[in-house]
């Protein structure tokens, strides 16, 4: 699996636009800057929804109303971050494919997605019984706290990708780190 991923990354790295993107000072930096700026929209809206679900803010506004009104701006932000994330990946594909932090980030993103899907299902089924409650039920609050924790993990790992800790071929890593990062010899 790691070999296939590395071959794909090498194929991508050979593309002129991948090199061009990596070497373009303004284009690469603006994509990265916009990736961070849109975090304010995507995670900002998510934080407002989750803080309402935790019963910390907007207690006198129905929880489902906050979720419904902020859902699409959040999804819009996420879509932009996803596309700009793919562009950032394609600019430095080999190192990123073998980055431990990138792999953990993807796992956390997947977990956050599953949590959001389960949460939305729970919200659709049960909100009528607690929509106006200043403090939502425990299950809702746990899902909101988990959502905030998972996204905090995504931000941390995203930031750590820029550092060379545990890079393949750098300082010797414990074998399990090399395995998790997908380090391939050669």
């Amino acid at each position: 699996m790691n070999k296939v991923l590395l071959e794909f990354a090498q194929w991508l790295a050979d593309k002129p636009w991948s090199t061009g993107l990596h070497e373009s000072y303004y284009l690469y930096n603006w994509i990265e800057t916009s990736h961070v700026l849109v975090l304010m929209l995507c995670l900002g809206m998510l934080a407002v929804i989750d803080l309402r679900m935790l019963g910390w803010i907007l207690k006198d506004v129905p929880a489902s109303k906050i979720a419904a009104r902020l859902h699409w701006p959040m999804i819009g932000g996420f879509t932009y971050m996803f596309i700009s994330g793919i562009l950032l990946y394609s600019a430095i594909p080999i190192r990123t494919t073998q980055s431990l932090w990138f792999r953990i980030k993807l796992i956390l993103l997947l977990a956050a997605g599953i949590n959001a899907w389960l949460f939305n299902r729970h919200l659709a089924r049960s909100h009528a019984s607690w929509d106006l409650a200043p403090i939502p039920p425990n299950r809702t609050r746990v899902a909101a706290a988990l959502s905030l924790l998972l996204w905090a993990g995504v931000v941390v790992c995203g930031r750590f990708i820029a550092y060379d800790w545990f890079d393949c071929g750098g300082e010797p890593n414990p074998p399990w780190i090399d395995l998790a990062a997908g380090c391939e010899v050669g």
Binding site: T33, L43, M45, P73, R159
Partner: protein, 159 residues
């Protein structure tokens, strides 16, 4: 004492040395700074897009503002504290960075704008305020915080 020597002194201080010498410390502070930025962004966008009548149109703008401002203040404190620690590790670089000063001027403008203009105005009954005034306040607020975030990110690319 010149401003440069103040920055050099900060970088040479035990805090500066601690942040600088341990890469993981700087990276962890940076990550918390980013999370607080996202929180601040949520508070700013929810309030200002409501003032501009774009988002949460069926929720009173005073309710959105009151709640979001609490979040804003927490996020701003975290940003200021983590920002100080980040600065202490790379103070000399920041002193010579054009974008650092753009960010500081935008940040000072943003803080004065929020606490001296926006919040005092929004304490009044919103229905008594000209809707265009609310829209302009919202747009100005989004613009200044966008500038703070964008110039902040660009510090990392300079020098």
């Amino acid at each position: 004492m010149s401003l440069l020597s103040l920055f050099e002194g900060l970088e040479a201080s035990p805090i500066g040395v601690f942040v600088k010498d341990r890469g993981a410390t700087f990276a962890c502070i940076e990550a918390v700074h980013l999370m607080a930025l996202a929180l601040l962004g949520g508070a700013v966008l929810a309030t200002d897009l409501r003032l501009m009548n774009v988002l949460l149109r069926d929720v009173p703008s005073s309710t959105v503002n009151e709640n979001a401002h609490k979040v804003f203040k927490i996020a701003l404190w975290v940003l200021l504290i983590t920002g100080f620690f980040m600065l202490s590790g790379v103070a000399t670089k920041c002193y010579h960075s054009f974008y650092y000063w753009v960010k500081m001027i935008a940040l000072a403008t943003g803080i004065v704008f929020v606490f001296a203009i926006k919040q005092p105005l929004l304490k009044r009954d919103h229905s008594q305020i000209n809707p265009w005034t609310l829209k302009v306040i919202g747009l100005a607020s989004i613009s200044v915080w966008f500038l703070v975030a964008a110039s902040g990110r660009w510090i990392g690319f300079s020098g």
